[in-house]
């Protein structure tokens, strides 16, 4: 077979499997079954990203889409052991409306794709980025875009994450912890958690010149926290709540600090001075990694961990039902 046909066959198989897994994840009443398919879907989409020549996205999808999202969904299902989607939701008018909306969205998307991909003389952003890459201070174009050319967007993304975790923390205390792990799971944790932390450090460092970066590294650290929590370590490797608060805001703080300093030097907000780009980017990424890791870990824990509220102040959420 010629190479082109083989690649097409490969792409067809990947697309077919992805669609099949996606459909299987939303069909059927048993929610646990759906989560299992969702995790499989995440694993496969990571491979799809790799096929599409996007290793940074593949790393993020493997860490967040497959591992963390699956763990979060399973954690949510813990409160309802025999969870099933109710019959009046399945196949009812709501489902029909949602399906129609999905089809309309897909049609619009397809129309846009056909018109942009088939355009006669497209302007490719990739060329502009490659031209400016030597000035950015890093060798990885994705990192250059995230932490230099569009650094402001990344700052706002971190703010969105912070807002999300504040919402989760406001909901109530943390979820029920697990009991101590047996020898099998304990043995797994003993080598998996250090390896996850090591890989996170590697991805943070390598993000400057190879696929990697703050989001991927932060997600790996969060996966380590999830493993610890599953093994019965309730605090999941996090430091005490005052330190947690500092870590949650570390990413935004680093960004704002650098921005204020550059403004003070007469440059624009977050316009790195010449020669300092590489170092500043690494500094901000390190702070962002810790922030993202703490955010995702607290999101998995599901609420305020023990000791979040200091001894003297009143924790009113548990009292709401008892007030007059």
């Amino acid at each position: 077979m010629m190479a082109v046909q083989l690649w097409q066959l490969l792409d067809l198989l990947l697309a077919g499997l992805t669609l099949g897994l996606g459909w299987a994840a939303v069909s059927g009443p048993d929610l646990r079954r759906s989560v299992v398919f969702f995790i499989a879907f995440g694993l496969l989409v990571a491979v799809v990203w790799a096929r599409l020549r996007a290793p940074d996205l593949a790393l993020a999808e493997a860490a967040i889409g497959a591992g963390l999202s699956g763990a979060l969904l399973l954690s949510a299902l813990r409160d309802e052991p025999d969870a099933e989607t109710s019959d009046d939701v399945r196949g009812g008018p709501v489902a029909a409306l949602v399906s129609l909306a999905g089809l309309a969205l897909a049609a619009a998307f397809a129309w846009v794709m056909i018109h942009t991909l088939g355009a006669a003389d497209p302007v490719r952003l990739a060329d502009q980025i490659t031209a400016q890459l030597p000035n950015s201070g890093v060798g990885n174009p994705v990192t250059a875009v995230l932490l230099n050319f569009r650094a402001y967007d990344t700052l706002l993304e971190l703010a969105v994450l912070l807002a999300a975790v504040l919402g989760i923390l406001a909901l109530g205390p943390a979820r029920t912890p697990y009991r101590a792990a047996g020898p099998l799971l304990d043995g797994l944790i003993r080598w998996l958690v250090p390896l996850l932390i090591l890989t996170a450090g590697y991805l943070l460092w390598a993000g400057a010149h190879a696929p990697g970066g703050a989001f991927q590294a932060g997600a790996m650290l969060a996966a380590a926290a999830v493993m610890l929590r599953l093994g019965g370590h309730t605090i999941a490797g996090l430091p005490r709540p005052p330190m947690q608060r500092i870590l949650l805001t570390a990413g935004i703080a680093a960004f704002v600090l650098v921005g204020v300093i550059t403004t003070g030097l007469g440059l624009a907000f977050l316009q790195y001075p010449g020669g300092w780009s590489g170092g500043l980017i690494l500094l901000i990424e390190a702070a962002a990694t810790l922030a993202i890791a703490t955010t995702l870990a607290l999101a998995y824990i599901g609420g305020r961990p023990a000791g979040w509220v200091s001894e003297g102040s009143a924790d009113t959420t548990t009292k709401i039902g008892g007030r007059d």
Partner: protein, 93 residues
């Protein structure tokens, strides 16, 4: 040609993956399926890594591939045991 040896390893590895998948489909019981899965996949991945290391030729890449294989060995063996233990607990209920 060293490429020929590498390709041979890769194809044998794929054959073992196929054997694992067939085992998962055809064997009668969860535990026998788990057994087939982990044995076939670990050997399949090992042969695949060996073949790719030979084809690529670089030492650093070979070490990386070997590490990935060892990691998958440990992780999938533990996962298989965890799944089997959970199935036994379900059965005892």
């Amino acid at each position: 040609m060293s490429d020929l040896l590498g390709i041979l390893f890769v194809l044998t590895g794929i054959a073992f993956f196929a054997a694992g998948s067939i085992g998962v489909l055809r064997l009668p019981d969860l535990h026998s399926r788990l057994h087939a899965l982990t044995k076939a996949d670990n050997l399949g991945l090992g042969l695949l890594c060996a073949g790719l290391a030979i084809i690529d030729g670089g030492a650093l890449n070979a070490v990386k591939l070997f590490l990935v294989w060892v990691l998958v060995l440990a992780a999938s063996a533990t996962a298989a045991h965890l799944i089997a233990q959970q199935a036994l607990r379900q059965a005892d209920k």
